[in-house]
């Protein structure tokens, strides 16, 4: 597993750029990954989604579906796609330092 330096933090990434160890994550890292993925600035709404994804993953061991993200995060589906046009669940997982969501929904 190659170690990459992002925002002065050494991290292990999989082939698609997801952290393999959520414990290596920090907020500066999140900002750097976001900037690298077309989101120059993380707003409070972005953070709400990123934290929800991360907390849910750390609690349950799997990332939420887009359905429960839209229902439970406090950010409706339409806005999720405005915040993360290239795929909310996938991008919020990447920024939140958790593995890529595996679900089909």
């Amino acid at each position: 597993m190659p170690t990459t330096l992002i925002a002065d933090t050494p991290v292990d990434l999989d082939a698609e750029g997801f952290l393999t160890d959520p414990a290596q994550w920090n907020e500066d890292l999140a900002r750097a990954i976001a900037a690298d993925n077309g989101i120059p600035e993380l707003t409070d709404r972005h953070w709400l989604v990123v934290r929800f994804m991360r907390d849910r993953y750390l609690q349950t061991g799997s990332a939420p579906s887009i359905r429960s993200l839209g229902k439970e995060s406090g950010v409706p589906v339409k806005e999720l796609y405005e915040l993360f046009p290239k795929g909310p669940a996938k991008l919020a997982a990447r920024i939140g330092g958790i593995p890529k969501p595996r679900g089909c929904i």
């Binding site: 429960s68 339409k78 679900g103």
Partner: protein
Amino acid sequence: MQTDTPLETIEKVAIVISKGSLEGVYPGLIMANGARMEGIEADLFFTFFGLEAIRRDRYAKIKVATVGNPGMHLPTWIGAIPGFSALATSMMKRQMEKIDIPPIPEFIELVGDSGVHLYACKASVDMFGLTMDDFVPQVEDIISVGEFYERAAGGEIIFT
């Protein structure tokens, strides 16, 4: 974040839903939603009995086909017993809810909110004598097959 060879990606899909049974409608919805989750543009084109999935008076009542469906592993006469299709449908819906797949009306709303563009096929709409008033608000327009191909240009077309 770099790999040696950049991964090939799909940028755009156009998915045709042509059947009006539960198992005929879900695959197209799942593929359209899945496309948006990957940041892929997606159109849904409802044709023939696929129109059931966007008819406001019918889309909550779509059932599993229990007759003529070898995947059910049932003798035809059992599948034809009154109420059997409704029973099989409610069992399947319960299973789907368990794995977080929404019922069709909620799913149509989800794909609409996700930025999927929904269209009804003009030939089918004319054949069934329907108008835009028959459809759920997520349906943007009634378009011809030619217009469908124009919209699909440059992407992948998936027929279900």
